[in-house]
């Protein structure tokens, strides 16, 4: 699915040293179209995130600020899920951080593609997501990986924040959310996010199932937010096995 993993291409590409800017023409044919498709998909996710957050009772600025500053789809959904379920901000932040810890692994994998200057590294770091990592790791050489990173990264950041703002505005116009069944949309979104992982990965399925049972059983007795963290005990159901699968461009972060 994702050829050309990072390890073999490093800094010895002479072309990369000579040009600082990325161009659309640096991308192999078809990649721009793939990026555009993911932009559209993420716009829909962003609209839903904004609408559901505000419909769930959060002030409009929370999803908007979260999207600008945190900028990580699944962590945002999860943090908002904890907040709107009555969990404290600490539990919400902890849940989101645990989800985002995987970003450290991605950032190690794509570090080459950001560029060498410190401004590029510091700005680029904020744009690292599942999607940008997937696009970068699918490219054959350093030049196209750099182009893929900056083009998909900038595009996704713009689209995500605009669509979240639009969704939040729409959500505040909705009123009573129970009537529209929007409370079911949140878990369904998380289910759609997690399906690719549990479809292909027996360990994730086993650990997820055990964790879900633990969380459900703990919900009546523990304060909101805690049962989800307790679910991590489900990790003991994992079996030892060979490498991790990289993310796919189709799955929103």
């Amino acid at each position: 699915m994702l050829p050309g993993m990072c390890s073999s291409h490093r800094t010895d590409d002479p072309v990369e040293r000579t040009t600082g800017l990325v161009r659309f023409s640096d991308l192999p044919p078809g990649v721009l179209r793939d990026i555009a498709l993911v932009l559209v998909a993420d716009a829909v996710v962003g609209l839903s995130f904004g609408a559901i957050s505000v419909a769930g009772g959060l002030p409009l600025w929370v999803p908007v600020a979260m999207s600008l500053l945190v900028y990580a789809g699944s962590a945002q959904f999860s943090a908002v899920a904890v907040l709107t379920a009555g969990g404290g901000p600490a539990a919400a932040a902890a849940t989101g951080l645990l989800l985002n810890s995987r970003t450290a692994a991605f950032s190690l994998a794509v570090a080459d593609s950001l560029g060498r200057s410190w401004p590029a590294r510091l700005v680029g770091a904020h744009l690292i997501t599942d999607e940008t990592a997937a696009f970068v790791l699918a490219q054959p050489d350093l030049r196209s990986r750099k182009a893929a990173f900056w083009i998909s990264g900038a595009g996704l950041f713009a689209v995500w924040n605009i669509s979240v703002f639009g969704g939040a505005l729409a959500g505040s116009a909705l009123g009573d959310t129970g009537r529209f069944g929007l409370d079911a949309a949140f878990p369904a979104v998380l289910l759609a996010l997690v399906l690719p992982a549990v479809r292909d990965d027996g360990n994730a399925r086993r650990a997820g199932a055990v964790g879900a049972v633990i969380a459900l059983a703990a919900t009546p007795v523990l304060p909101a937010g805690a049962p989800v963290l307790l679910a991590l005990l489900g990790l003991v159901a994992m079996r030892r096995r060979v490498p991790v699968t990289p993310p796919s461009p189709g799955s929103p972060s």
């Binding site: 829909v44 985002n100 770091a125």
Partner: protein, 104 residues
């Protein structure tokens, strides 16, 4: 400080720190495969736990049947690789319809 703001700032700072790991360490460190796998599966476990508790519970009580039924509809649509918007609309629509019939 406002609790929401604190949550957003802590989450933002922590996430940015994770993202800086690569550009700062730049090739000097590689996470062991076992740790990477634990992080990946851990993320899945969190999401599954969130969606399960979100589907079945409201506060510390059962949420009623309309919501999990709607989530199930969304899940089937997602399993059949329906577009994201269809998943969201299907889940919300099914729950809304069930509530119209008087189910809690």
């Amino acid at each position: 400080m406002n609790a929401y703001l604190a949550c957003v700032l802590v989450l933002a700072a922590g996430t940015y720190a994770f993202r800086l790991a690569g550009p700062v360490l730049h090739g000097r460190v590689e996470l062991p495969a076992r740790v990477q796998e634990l992080l990946t599966v851990g993320a899945t476990v969190l999401l599954v736990a969130l969606l399960t508790t979100g589907a079945f519970t409201e506060g510390q009580d059962f949420a009623g049947w309309s919501r999990p039924a709607g989530v199930l509809v969304g899940g089937v649509l997602a399993w059949r690789r329906a577009p994201f918007a269809v998943v969201v609309a299907g889940a919300a629509g099914a729950t809304a319809l069930l509530r119209l019939t008087g189910l809690s």
